[in-house]
């Protein structure tokens, strides 16, 4: 059962034990997945289309519920957790989307501040933390710019600042380099690595094998809803 479990001295932040997910349409997305990701790890999730990567991420964010098995994320038992606790789970994680999902009529500062406002943080803290997050991604000088005035890479960095601003324990990045040029892709992953170096767990889905090869982080490979490889030291082909 614990075939793919990584050994790590730190406690687990994500644990899958015998997890299967079949959609109402009959599609078997995941089958008997067992995985353990420790606090502070940087993990790439790779696999072809339909391999089960999206379902894997959705289960972690509790956008979907497993049909069987047990999932624990950041101390929350997702298989038993009532719906009203989902917001509390998500406050422990930051999410970076492939399509950036910036609100077009809000400037950079407000886009990042939005993530704090909706969880009820006071304005004083918001001002301080947003400035800090924007500086961290190198966009402190673009706080008043609108999203359409930024390049793809800059927009993704705003998305990253938004994911960071609530100081989450876990960042889930769903193909964050999918819509940016190769140079910027390296910059984004470097930023994520820097954030990881400060202790935040990073879980990144990607199709870009070059990135995975160049950044020597743990790689989980999915195929047909099963984990087919789990390499601690980087990509092996």
């Amino acid at each position: 059962m614990d075939l793919n479990v990584q050994q790590n001295n730190k406690g687990p932040i994500i644990e899958f034990a015998g997890v299967s997910k079949t959609y109402n349409s009959g599609t078997h997305a995941l089958a008997d997945v067992n995985i353990r990701i420790s606090k502070g790890e940087f993990v790439f999730v790779v696999g072809s289309s339909g391999a089960g990567k999206s379902t894997f991420m959705k289960l972690i964010m509790r956008e979907e519920k497993a049909n069987s098995g047990q999932i624990k994320v950041n101390g929350f038992d997702l298989t038993k957790m009532p719906r009203k606790q989902i917001p509390m789970l998500r406050r422990t994680m930051g999410i970076v989307f492939q399509d950036f999902r910036l609100i077009p009529n809000m400037n950079v500062f407000d886009n990042v501040a939005f993530a704090m406002r909706v969880v009820g943080k006071p304005s004083r803290i918001i001002r301080k933390e947003v400035s800090k997050a924007l500086s961290m991604v190198g966009l402190g000088h673009k706080a008043r710019s609108m999203p359409n005035q930024l390049s793809g890479g800059e927009q993704q960095r705003v998305g990253l600042a938004r994911a960071l601003v609530n100081s989450p324990d876990l960042i889930i990045a769903d193909e964050p380099t999918g819509n940016v040029d190769p140079n910027m892709s390296y910059e984004i992953v470097s930023l994520l690595s820097a954030i990881n170096a400060k202790g935040t767990t990073i879980l990144m889905v990607t199709h870009d094998h070059n990135l995975v090869r160049d950044f020597k982080h743990r790689v989980i490979m999915l195929d047909g809803g099963r984990i087919v490889a789990d390499n601690a030291g980087g990509f092996e082909q």
């Binding site: 959705k58 917001p87 406050r91 930051g94 939005f114 993530a115 969880v119 009820g120 006071p122 304005s123």
Partner: protein, 336 residues
């Protein structure tokens, strides 16, 4: 909830009203129209009630007693003992029931004590004759001098009875008829029936109008909120992703719905005032009636009803609509 969050959420709701201004104008227009119709239906109902109330107050039942004259000239049959025959010239005291004023007053008191009787006053046959002379015989007194002769007054002693509720009019009349000593009761039973049917008809129509318009109001507000939700689906998906609670996501939409409701209520109050003023000026000008309910006496009540409808439609419409969307997750928002 923190004050800062409350201010932010309230501000977002009010901002939505402006951002979606075309939809807001359409919703306020339709909602106002519904409220105006509800307001006018209520004012018509108030006026019908008042008019019927006036009719009810004027509606007096005349009760005539079983005295000597009622046997001689009225509808009362004489009370005859076994084998006794009736001789109009030698009528005896035992052949009728009310012989003097005391007996008449005791019947009046009995009627006064009945349910649904507002008042009952004794009317002697002399007073009745004076009344007939004033109303029916004015200018023709010379032809009716015989009425003043001793024994010439053919009228009976009786009572003027005022009823309080037209709904049980006929039952009360039957009870009065059953009182010992009462000969006949002159009433306008048909009028009571007409009043009652108008009252229930207006009441039913009012209820249906209000219900139908309420449903329309709910649909209108729900649709506006739906458009807002569609426009803000990106924000909602991000809100959910970063851990906003359902309540937090819901508040701006509820504020928007309530704001639309309150704006509509203010417009409706103003419009109803002008419509009613034009209508009452026309009616009072042509009919000269002063029995119309004044707008000022109902202004607060109407505003209260409008605001209640607006707030109800706003809260209910937005909660119903958003609850549907709150169950959606991440990528499902793109499919909306």
């Amino acid at each position: 909830m923190r004050l800062g969050s409350a201010k932010y959420l309230f501000g977002e709701g009010v901002k939505n009203v402006w951002v979606n201004r075309l939809m807001t104008i359409a919703s306020v227009g339709v909602l106002t129209a519904c409220m105006v119709l509800i307001g006018l239906a209520l004012l018509i109902s108030f006026n019908v009630d008042k008019a019927l109330g006036n009719l009810e107050q004027q509606n007096v039942v005349m009760v005539y007693f079983n005295d000597k004259n009622s046997v001689l000239y009225g509808d009362s049959a004489p009370i005859l003992a076994e084998g006794e025959t009736f001789d109009a010239k030698n009528i005896t005291d035992s052949q009728f029931l009310v012989h003097n004023k005391e007996e008449a007053l005791s019947i009046v008191n009995e009627i006064k004590g009945m349910d649904n009787v507002a008042d009952a006053t004794y009317v002697s046959k002399e007073e009745a004759l004076e009344s007939v002379k004033k109303t029916m015989l004015e200018g023709k007194e010379q032809y009716f001098e015989f009425l003043d002769e001793d024994g010439g007054n053919p009228l009976s002693d009786g009572a003027r009875v005022k009823l309080s509720d037209m709904a049980t009019f006929n039952e009360t009349v039957e009870k009065i008829k059953a009182v010992s000593g009462v000969s006949t009761v002159q009433s306008q039973g048909e009028l009571a029936d007409v009043i009652n049917s108008i009252k229930s008809g207006v009441g039913m129509a009012g209820v249906w109008i209000v219900l139908i318009l309420l449903v329309i109001s709910l649909v209108i507000v729900s649709n506006t909120i739906r458009v807002t939700m569609y426009n803000r689906k990106l924000e909602i998906s991000i809100m959910k992703a970063v851990g906003a609670t359902d309540g937090f996501i819901r508040v701006p939409f509820v504020v928007e719905g309530v704001a639309i409701g309150i704006i509509s209520a203010i417009f409706a109050e103003t419009l109803v005032y002008f419509c009613y003023r034009i209508a009452t000026d026309t009616i009072m000008g042509s009919l000269g009636t002063s029995t119309i309910v004044s707008f000022s006496s109902k202004a607060l009540l109407l505003l209260g009803v409008f605001v209640a409808i607006g707030v109800f439609a706003g809260v209910f419409g937005s909660i119903v609509m958003i609850s549907k969307y709150l169950k959606k997750e991440g990528s499902e928002f793109s499919a909306i």
